[in-house]
């Protein structure tokens, strides 16, 4: 069966905005989502390991991160809505069939996320200076760490299946009743699945490291100099491990699983520049962290955060290019007619800018008082 036979007709309504606009917001949203998502994807696991086997400074780092985690998750889930929204606008013809084929695993993300999120709250509510966690709360932290990694695996499944149309006919026919999918398929036969998932974990380790430096330099300024020095050194080690992991999995993904035509395109002009930048960019935050291995400074910490944001943005752009190249065999997502909704778009942009202004005002209003000093600011939560 030709997989293109399984792509439905285009929407009679057309795109509500030009493709470039939709994909820009999709990539921007994914970049914003990736930051906090990385911190929970790899960070909770590292925090659990640090709390269980780490030094006193590692305990402190773990406690800080886990106290901040509820807010980080809220922001990450929130930012994740943007790429999901624009994916459904521009990629609906492949997104819906792929997720329906794996409907139950996809649906289970909501349930797993609920447990994982509450698990983090349970753990965070038990993290107090000098007090031992109860076994239940400790277990909640470990369960959350595992659930978030499992959720990452399911996301990798969904988005790799979205472009792996060649697998659709077999998956569909083996998991359906009279042509209607039971929704039990997983894209495990796709050679790109594992390296994608593991590569993301490696990149997530680097983001956790960059966030550690940012936290130590900007948010944890009331912490001792020893802690901040430890944080710089720890971040360097973590970033290095993440970088090596990312490089290895990236090489597996690029040279071991990409179709020849995709690789040829990404290693030829003009995409070679993007490919090279994506591969080399993590070196910048790594160098910045290297300079801070003995003492984290506020300026360099902010620069580290910005540099890591750049790494994530490049990664998101590259992923978008690869996604379109993989799909181009089956579908040209840029070819749909546009039925521009100008006035709603303008209203949205005005609200977007006004909203950013209000967020900036709110952040400014809390800045003079204190920074996000978790132990005190969470005292209300810790009491419970």
């Amino acid at each position: 069966m030709n997989p293109t036979e399984l792509i439905g007709p285009p929407s009679p309504l057309g795109y509500p905005a030009p493709y470039w606009f939709l994909v820009t917001f999709k990539v921007l949203g994914f970049t914003l989502h990736m930051g906090p998502m990385h911190v929970w994807f790899a960070g909770i696991l590292i925090a659990m390991i640090a709390a269980r086997w780490g030094s006193p400074e590692a305990h402190r780092w773990s406690a800080r991160l886990m106290r901040q985690m509820p807010v980080i998750i809220a922001l990450g889930v929130n930012f994740g809505i943007v790429p999901l929204l624009f994916t459904q606008v521009a990629y609906y013809r492949v997104f819906y069939p792929a997720t329906i084929l794996m409907a139950w695993p996809w649906f289970s993300i909501i349930i797993l996320l609920t447990f994982a999120y509450y698990g983090v709250y349970i753990y965070a509510s038990g993290v107090k200076e000098g007090a031992a966690l109860t076994p239940f709360k400790r277990a909640a932290g470990w369960v959350s760490a595992i659930l978030f990694i499992a959720i990452g695996f399911l996301f990798s499944n969904g988005f790799s299946l979205m472009t792996n149309l060649s697998a659709w006919p077999t998956l569909w026919q083996s998991t359906s009743v009279a042509g209607a999918p039971l929704g039990t398929a997983l894209n495990t036969s796709d050679p790109t699945l594992l390296p994608r998932w593991l590569m993301m974990f490696g990149l997530a380790l680097t983001t956790v490291a960059a966030y550690t430096v940012f936290d130590a330099g900007v948010l944890a300024r009331r912490q001792s100099a020893e802690y901040r020095a430890w944080a710089g050194n720890f971040a360097l080690q973590l970033y290095t491990v993440g970088l090596i992991w990312f490089a290895l999995m990236g090489a597996w993904y690029t040279f071991g699983t990409w179709p020849t035509e995709v690789r040829a395109r990404l290693f030829a002009s003009p995409w070679i520049i993007l490919t090279a930048l994506t591969a080399l960019a993590p070196g910048v935050p790594w160098l910045l962290i290297l300079f801070q291995r003995r003492q984290v400074t506020q300026t360099l910490a902010i620069l580290t955060g910005l540099a890591q944001f750049g790494v994530l943005a490049l990664n998101a752009i590259s992923r978008q290019v690869v996604q379109n190249l993989e799909l181009s065999k089956f579908l040209d997502v840029t070819a749909e007619p546009v039925n521009l909704q100008l006035s709603p778009l303008v209203v949205f942009l005005i609200l977007f800018i006004a909203g950013l202004g209000v967020v900036a005002w709110m952040i400014m209003s809390i800045k003079p008082k204190t920074t996000m000093n978790s132990p005190k600011s969470h005292s209300g939560a810790s009491r419970r």
Partner: protein, 453 residues
């Protein structure tokens, strides 16, 4: 038919939407009303310098965040997840029409999250004026979220003149918009008071403070109840004729409507006798009873709101079985199996001998062996009927619905479902395909129960 039809045995996949949606609205309305409650009451507590009440509000804000930011946000995303899986064509239509409505709502959602965290985590660290301003930013943002989402959900029930010009604003400001915004705002106020009673009854030990909380939350509850009533009347007035008829004819909706009326009166009576006249009555048991009754009213209301749209998901735009009304005539001519993306691929793979000149030969379908004809009937059932019906057991099982019917009756039903029941979508296939579906239905229909005179 543009997309694969997710088969969920017993329950049917759209029922998952109903489950998630009901679980979500019970919290999302609290997310709106609770924001207003915290803004108004924090202002009152600061103004009267009531430290004890402020401490309670801090405690309540933590409960509020745990419920709304975590559970409310995830179930909200969960609705997205589920509608895409169970009703992909309707979701496609909605998202291409209202993507900027959702994007606007997203801006307010960001403001909600940021202000909620600052409001709670910086409690006691901000100037009272700034703290109150943050609370009002949350309250306004949450209400705007309600307004924006209601424009879209109300559109599904009555798109008004949208079909004529497909204009965003015409669709958004549809006839159901104002009544539903009033009803949902009222619902948010009412439900929040019930959450407050329950939380306060469990957390506050001092009778004086508990009485204060009970009495201050009564007025919003009563205003909310009045708004729900006014909005509900408007909702009914602007219902399409078919939805009004569905309320009268569908027995399950009769029961739910009766439940809604009876339980709403019970909530009114309890509010009047309890928090209004006798604030000290608000014990954990009383608050739980009031809360449970309120949740039942809301759940029943949401179910009715979803159910009255039949046979549409979006009124006059998408049928409940994922077919566009304008596609029906073509499908009747060239065949549903041929016209459906996934059904066509299925037949071509499984029954290549019925494909001639790149088309499914409808006459050939009836020449297939009987088991194959029934199997193809089952394919038609999965794509044409399973959005609303289980097979033999489960939600509205079609086998039981045609129990004891003659083959002629079943065939007539298949060919004219909308004439048998106006809340069913029309048949969108050829007579040959109707024959196949009828054969399948006959095969799963149990005989007429024995022992009847």
């Amino acid at each position: 038919m543009h997309y694969p039809s997710w088969y969920v045995p017993l329950l049917t996949s759209p029922m998952l939407i109903a489950v998630i949606a009901i679980l979500h609205v019970l919290v999302s309305h609290y997310a709106v009303g609770g924001g207003l409650f915290l803004a108004v009451e924090t202002r009152y507590a600061y103004r009267t310098n009531n430290r004890e009440y402020l401490a309670y509000l801090h405690d309540h804000a933590w409960f509020f965040i745990l419920i709304t930011v975590v559970y409310g946000a995830i179930t909200g995303v969960g609705i997205w997840w589920t509608i895409g899986l169970a009703s992909p064509l309707a979701t496609e239509m909605l998202i291409h029409t209202f993507v900027f409505g959702w994007a606007m709502e997203y801006v307010f959602f960001v403001l909600e999250i940021v202000s909620a965290f600052i409001f709670f985590y910086y409690w006691g660290k901000l100037e009272p004026k700034t703290h109150q301003a943050i609370a009002w930013i949350y309250a306004f943002s949450a209400w705007m979220s309600l307004v924006l989402i209601t424009g879209i959900t109300a559109f599904m029930l009555n798109p008004g003149a949208w079909s004529e010009n497909r204009n965003f604003w015409v669709g958004f400001f549809n006839p159901q918009f104002v009544p539903q915004v009033i009803a949902r705002t009222g619902g948010a106020l009412l439900l929040t008071s019930l959450y407050v009673y329950l939380h306060a009854s469990l957390r506050v030990k001092g009778q004086a403070l508990r009485d204060l909380i009970a009495s201050r939350s009564t007025l919003p509850a009563l205003i909310g109840a009045a708004a729900v009533t006014i909005g509900g009347i408007g909702w009914y007035v602007f219902l399409p004729e078919s939805a009004k008829a569905a309320l009268t004819v569908a027995s399950s909706l009769n029961i739910f409507m009766t439940l809604i009326f009876a339980l709403t009166i019970a909530v009114f009576v309890m509010l009047y006798l309890g928090p209004y006249r006798n604030p000290h009555w608000v014990s954990p048991g009383f608050a739980l009873l009031l809360f449970g009754t309120g949740l039942m009213v809301f759940s029943a209301g949401e179910f009715v709101r979803e159910a009255v749209r039949k046979p549409y998901i979006i009124y006059n735009v998408v049928y409940s079985n994922q077919i566009l009304p304008e596609e029906v005539a073509t499908l009747r001519q060239k065949g549903y199996l041929e016209g459906g993306t996934w059904t066509s691929a299925w037949v071509r793979t499984r029954y290549p001998n019925v494909v001639q000149s790149q088309q499914i030969n409808e006459a050939q379908l009836l020449a297939l062996p009987e088991p194959d004809q029934r199997e193809l009937g089952k394919v038609l059932f999965q794509y044409h009927c399973s959005s609303c019906h289980a097979t033999r057991e489960g939600y509205s099982p079609v086998g039981q619905l045609v129990r004891g019917w003659t083959p002629e009756m079943i065939k007539a039903l298949v060919e004219n479902p909308e004439k048998f029941h106006f809340f069913m979508p029309p048949w969108a296939g050829t007579p040959e395909e109707a024959e196949l579906l009828a054969k399948y239905l006959i095969s799963i229909a149990p005989p007429r129960p024995g022992g009847m005179k």
